[in-house]
Amino acid sequence: MASVLRSGVSFLDRSIGVAPLRQASAAGLAVQFENVSKSYGTRPVLQNIDLAIEPGQFVVVIGRSGSGKSTLLRLLAGLELPDTGTVNLGADASPGRLRVMFQDGRLLPWRRVIDNVALGLPKSQRARAEAALQSVGLADRAGEWPRVLSGGQKQRVALARALAADPKLILLDEPLGALDALTRLEMQGLIEDLWRRSGFTAVLVTHDVAEAALLADRILLIEEGGIALDLRVDLPRPRRAGPAVAEIEARILERLLRRAPG
């Protein structure tokens, strides 16, 4: 419970500066898309995408439903292969370099919380799972079945599982989409906090414009299979809702609504 409070507090009052500043880019993976196209059947989903993501960058991919933003993430994860072009994640091919956090959590219901977090880790590295669970403030729930946790707690376990192997790239597929507004705000703070400490490259897919403005170094707006907007966000961190963030929000919304049907 104490650690839950701590992460909540560090989010509410970041000016204390609990998190040590990360070693920029040292722990992140660079990503390169070269002329990537993907279609399902005859329907093109992504067309001729060229994109370079710098190590340690926090990229938020935003777009309407069916715009191809989830496909972009699945290509990155290697869950889909591009029809043409290449997705390059560099020379490092270690099994722990990349993790995904899904919207529906995807915890194994037949494994205890701690075993879910340790999934895929060698037995000798179980301490890392414990540390990861600690970092999301759920160390005291290690022995529970996932079914007794709330939606927000399940997503924190999923986040801990993604963090446990100390990956260099974490892909977040609308991870907060199913949470209530207050829990979502807490989780955004937690994700930013952990990202600042660890320095992994983060790619987050969302349709929440406020979330994008709050978290992103760089916002990619995907529309009709292409990158319609590539916006750098150079606001100081940790960020809180305010005029500067609101202005970014407004710009994205305006761009999104321009293509609104009718």
Partner: protein
């Protein structure tokens, strides 16, 4: 036993029955009227009806209304049980029947699991033999008895083979089905976490298919007894089935009745063990969670 523990257990049992949720509601409404008594003596109440039946039966036998030769009295069944236990006849027959059941179950269940696993995991294996097995599944396995007698005679292997065939299909089908219905999202997640091969099987595939596999096991246990009774009744010179058929020739109806009660008791015992195993293995499952 407290009321808190009593109610949920009942509810689970009812929701699995074919009568559904409406029957459950009616049952609860009716039970509510006598709730005070049923909370105090739930286990006594369960035994009340069988006890009354046995007493009535004994009274009818003693008064000669029901002839002993058609339906022997309960106490003569108990006497038969005691005599045959002392002579060693009964333990020997129970042992040989249990051995046959266990061997048939192990062979049929093992093969069913192996084939179900193969068909569930590999499309190639599925295409190769699932169609054939689904066709064979429709053949009532007891129809094979004439053929099996030609192949194996009336010895041990015939009985074990018949049990194995009977047990094979429910376990095959439920293993296969259990693996195929595992959430694809969990498999995708596990692969991203770097699992494959044995680890994937151990962490995701087996535990994911286990609820369905255990349904197959319980179904298979029922078929196991049924098959064994038929096989022992038709041919053989040992086992509970033989004991009852032999007794019929000498008009020892109390021994026939004893055999039937033994099947009931053994069947119930094994079902209880299976249920206990289910509760242990599926503690994570909301339907099996203890209150």
């Amino acid at each position: 036993m407290s009321a808190r523990r009593f109610w949920p257990r009942r509810r689970r049992a009812m929701s699995r029955s074919p009568f559904g949720i409406d029957a459950l509601r009616r049952w609860r409404a009716a039970a509510q009227l006598t709730s005070r008594q049923s909370r105090v003596f739930p286990s006594l109440l369960t035994w009340l009806v069988p006890l009354l039946l046995v007493l009535a039966w004994e009274a009818l036998s003693a008064s000669g209304i029901v002839p002993q030769r058609k339906l022997p009295s309960p106490h003569s069944v108990v006497v038969a049980f005691w005599q045959m236990t002392r002579s060693g006849e009964l333990p020997r027959d129970v042992f040989i029947s249990t051995l046959r059941a266990a061997m048939g179950f192990a062979i049929g269940g093992g093969l069913g699991f192996a084939f179900g696993l193969a068909a569930g995991i590999s499309r190639l294996a599925e295409n190769l033999f699932d169609g054939t097995l689904q066709m064979l599944r429709m053949v009532p396995h007891l129809a094979l008895i004439p053929l099996i007698i030609v192949w194996f005679g009336i010895g041990e292997s015939a009985k074990v083979f018949l049990v194995a065939v009977g047990v094979f299909f429910p376990i095959y089908y439920n293993t296969y089905h259990g693996i195929r219905t595992i959430d694809a999202g969990l498999l995708e997640m596990a692969r991203i976490q770097g699992l494959n091969g044995i680890q994937l099987f151990h962490e995701v595939i087996f535990p994911g298919a286990l609820p369905s596999i255990l349904v197959g096991v319980r179904y298979g246990l029922g078929i196991m007894w049924l098959t064994l009774i038929v096989a022992e009744t038709i041919a053989g010179n040992s086992g509970i089935g033989f004991m009852t058929m032999n007794a019929r020739e000498f008009m020892q109806t109390n021994v026939v009745l004893l055999g039937i009660l033994l099947y009931a008791a053994l069947g119930k015992l094994i079902d209880m063990a299976a249920r206990r195993a289910e509760q242990g293995a599926l503690a994570w499952h909301p339907s099996f969670a203890r209150a």
